[in-house]
């Protein structure tokens, strides 16, 4: 127990990230199921009240984006990246632990809002954030959202931002600076590359939302008018700041998944990644362009024809590097010896589904056509094809791929296939009809709709699909759980992968590599035209390897942050100060604690 609380081992932290994020995914999914149950019929299927419904979709979006998908990717960053680059750990192991604890506490803080009502003299289920995951001003002002709901949201996101930023710096340095000898940048495995790009997006995009949230906080707590027309402010500035972060954020969510399938496809088709350099550079281009498109979320705000044209144009450009990736993946499969493992199925599913989401994205990119689509279920369809059909399928692929490495135990392939097909059918049933309900006039974020709209049938299909996904997810959950009772018999390289993580035992020893390998090719474990596979590493380290002990301070420091947030929430300065004191003491003790790598 203590060893888990104080751990600074990237592998353990990776597992902590995984289980925590998976838990939040179930919570976010449960919220989605309630949303779907409510919408199964016109005029309210489940009798969920408008207020509760607004909390549900806000928390669903926020949870999925910040508490499920980002940290699920982070689970792989943590576990896999140091192994792939041949390192003993990340650059800053304690900072890494800190990121995890901050993430966990931030997530708990956000979700505590569901039950915190009584503390504010309100009912349970009444003070959770309820202004949507992008919290448009001026609905979020004290005047229109008087309760603590939006405070929970903005403080929670601030906390989570700290976790992401800390992890961002950590992984930038880890990937750039901790590579094994010979691991040149263009020999990095594609997953590591996409992670690096993602982290650059994190450290540049998160400061912007930090500022936006600070300004919002000043509006709400101190009576400024940053986003309030009454004092000359402009609610549109919020939208610019949010989407300047928000659009890079969606690539933060997809790039790691793209990296994962760029590992899975070569392994299971026994062919190197087609066009490796192009795939890498297209990732860079996507990230770069990703910074220039944010206003495509604001076509209906009246930006004027010139800005509309510019942002429509830049948005469409992103289809090119993305398409390049897709074609290279198909090129990888082409001519290979494809083994249809669950992992591969999910990877192929990713490609198939992401194309649909990407293409509906292009219909959004056309500003005038988006005027009929924005804020309807058509957008909801888009986001779920890219986020579920893309990111989640990609992450599932990664889980089936790396689970034996992470635990030494195989997931059942039989159940995996059930999981895959149920998920694929479920998601199409859930999200494809949303294209229709949207274009037929169903706005998003409505807890009820009129039977006369004629969209009831589509909503029924969506609901059935959502519950199919739910069942699929339960199958998967069961599959995960039962591996604990299965033998720990996974060999070092069960799938015949080419990258360094497969050179060591499953699960790897604490110190990872008995000796740090020297890398001479992009596919160190494979026989290629010019390179023989790497010689196996010795079974035992030639000299004892010193592994740093754990540390309490990352966790203790992390605890200061929610304390500060609680103080702010309750308008109690002493609590804020107490939290700040915890942070400061934590940082000092941390800085002066002996800690050897």
């Amino acid at each position: 127990m203590k060893s888990w609380l104080t751990t600074t081992d990237h592998k353990r932290i990776g597992l902590l990230y995984f289980w925590t994020a998976f838990g939040f995914f179930m919570i976010g999914g449960l919220e989605a199921l309630i949303i779907r149950a409510q919408l199964v019929r016109p005029d309210g299927g489940l009798g969920v009240s408008a207020e509760t419904f607004n909390q549900l979709f806000t928390m669903h979006g926020t949870t999925m984006v910040f508490l499920a998908l980002m940290p699920l990717s982070a689970a792989f960053f943590n576990y896999i990246i140091p192994l792939q680059i041949g390192a003993r750990d990340v650059a800053f192991p304690r900072l890494n632990a800190f990121s995890y604890w901050v993430f966990l506490l931030g997530g708990l803080f956000l979700n505590a809002s569901f039950v915190a009502g009584p503390l504010f003299g309100a009912d349970r289920l009444s003070v959770a954030p309820d202004a949507g995951w992008f919290g448009y001003a001026n609905l979020t002002s004290r005047q229109f959202s008087p309760g603590p709901n939006v405070d929970f949201w903005l403080l929670g996101l601030q906390i989570l931002g700290i976790a992401s930023l800390a992890a961002g710096f950590n992984f930038v340095v880890t990937i750039l600076n901790m590579r094994a000898p010979g691991m040149r940048m263009l020999r990095l495995p594609p997953f590591t590359w996409m992670t690096l790009i993602t982290q650059f997006l994190v450290i540049t995009a998160f400061p912007v939302i930090t500022v936006a949230l600070v300004l919002l906080m000043f509006d709400r707590f101190f009576g400024t008018h940053f986003f309030l027309p009454a004092g000359g402010g402009d609610p549109i500035l919020w939208q610019h700041l949010f989407w300047m972060f928000g659009h890079p954020e969606v690539y933060i969510l997809i790039l790691p998944a793209m990296g994962i399938i760029s590992e899975v496809l070569p392994t299971f088709s026994k062919k190197p990644l087609f066009g490796y350099t192009v795939v890498v550079y297209s990732g860079v281009v996507i990230a770069f362009l990703g910074w220039s498109v944010w206003s495509h979320h604001m076509f209906s705000t009246g930006l004027g024809p010139i800005a509309d044209s510019v942002f429509a144009g830049t948005t469409m450009l992103i289809a090119i590097p993305t398409g390049v990736k897709i074609f290279n993946w198909i090129g990888t499969l082409w001519g290979g010896q494809i083994r249809f493992t669950t992992s591969l199925l999910f990877a192929v599913g990713f490609i198939a589904m992401f194309i649909i989401g990407g293409l509906s994205g292009v219909t959004h990119a056309s500003a005038p056509s988006d005027l009929q689509q924005t804020d309807t279920y058509y957008v909801v369809a888009h986001i779920h094809y890219v986020l579920f059909g893309g990111t989640i399928l990609g992450l599932f692929s990664g889980i089936y791929y790396w689970w034996p490495k992470m635990t030494g135990r195989f997931l059942s392939e039989r159940m995996g296939k059930v999981h895959f097909w149920l998920t694929l059918i479920g998601m199409n049933l859930a999200f494809f009809p949303m294209h229709f309900s949207g274009l037929l006039g169903m706005p998003r974020r409505i807890y009820t709709y009129s039977a006369d709209l004629g969209v009831a049938r589509f909503n029924q299909l969506s609901t059935i699909g959502a519950f199919l996904i739910g069942i699929a997810t339960l199958v998967f959950f069961w599959n995960l759980l039962r591996t604990r009772r299965r033998p720990s018999n996974a060999p070092a390289n069960p799938w015949g992968g080419a990258t360094l993580e497969w050179a060591i035992s499953s699960p790897p020893p604490v110190y990872n590599f008995t000796v740090i390998p020297t890398v001479t090719s992009r596919l160190p474990l494979w026989q290629t035209e010019r390179h023989a596979p790497m010689a196996p590493l010795p079974d035992r380290p030639p000299a004892p390897i010193h592994v740093p002990g754990g540390s309490w301070w990352p966790m203790i420091t992390a605890f200061g942050l929610p304390i500060i947030a609680i103080g702010a929430l309750a308008h109690l300065i002493p609590i804020v100060l107490a939290g700040a004191a915890v942070v400061i003491v934590g940082i000092y003790r941390w800085a002066y604690e002996p800690f050897e790598m």
């Binding site: 950590n170 540049t204 600070v214 300004l215 009576g223 400024t224 940053f226 402009d234 740090i516 790598m597």
Partner: protein, 193 residues
């Protein structure tokens, strides 16, 4: 404490230093967004006081000078620590922190003077954007001063030496960055009215 000592890094630079440059890059976007907010709302205050009525250029020029000198003191401190001249090192660390404190004192005086003149945080958009931008900068200076004083105390206790040159260098990076941010703020907020 660092990896540099145990195992050579891929880029030949210390992890902490690289992390710090990344952090400073990230800070560029933090201040960029704040400055953008300030500029977007320029001239949109509904009521006074307006910038030209209240900003005190001679006084702020002095503050700017003060910060520039603190940057000089900082490089001198680093050079001394690298040489192993801890006497000079202590001196310049202290001078840097002191100049930082003077800057903060100036900012405190400036803020209270403005409040006295009728410009509060919520008076108008100018007040809000001004205080949040310069206040965020001031918070950075505060952190820097605390950090410098910590190093100084370490030095007094004889626990800081050339082996910690890197720590001092990183402190310096932070400190200089806070200085260049002020260079921008001085121009954008004070001189271009």
């Amino acid at each position: 404490m660092t990896h540099g000592s145990t195992h050579a890094t891929s880029m030949g630079v210390d992890n902490r230093k690289m992390a710090f440059w990344a952090f400073i890059g990230s800070e560029c976007l933090l201040f960029g967004s704040l400055i953008a907010t300030y500029l977007v709302y320029k001239g949109r205050s509904l009521v006074g006081p307006y910038p030209h009525e209240i900003l005190n250029i001679p006084f702020t020029s002095f503050s700017t000078f003060d910060l520039l000198m603190s940057s000089l003191a900082m490089v001198l401190a680093l050079a001394a620590v690298q040489r192993g001249d801890m006497k000079q090192g202590k001196l310049w660390l202290f001078v840097t922190a002191l100049l930082g404190l003077i800057f903060l004192g100036g900012q405190f005086w400036e803020f209270s003077h403005f409040v006295h003149e009728g410009l509060g945080l919520t008076t108008n958009l100018f007040g809000s954007t001004f205080y949040v931008l310069t206040g965020t900068h001031g918070a950075h200076v505060t952190v820097g001063v605390i950090w410098l004083l910590t190093l100084w105390i370490q030095a007094l206790r004889g626990k800081l030496g050339p082996q910690n040159a890197l720590t001092v260098e990183i402190t310096g990076l932070y400190w200089h960055f806070v200085d260049v941010v002020w260079i921008v703020i001085f121009t954008v907020v004070y001189l271009i009215q």
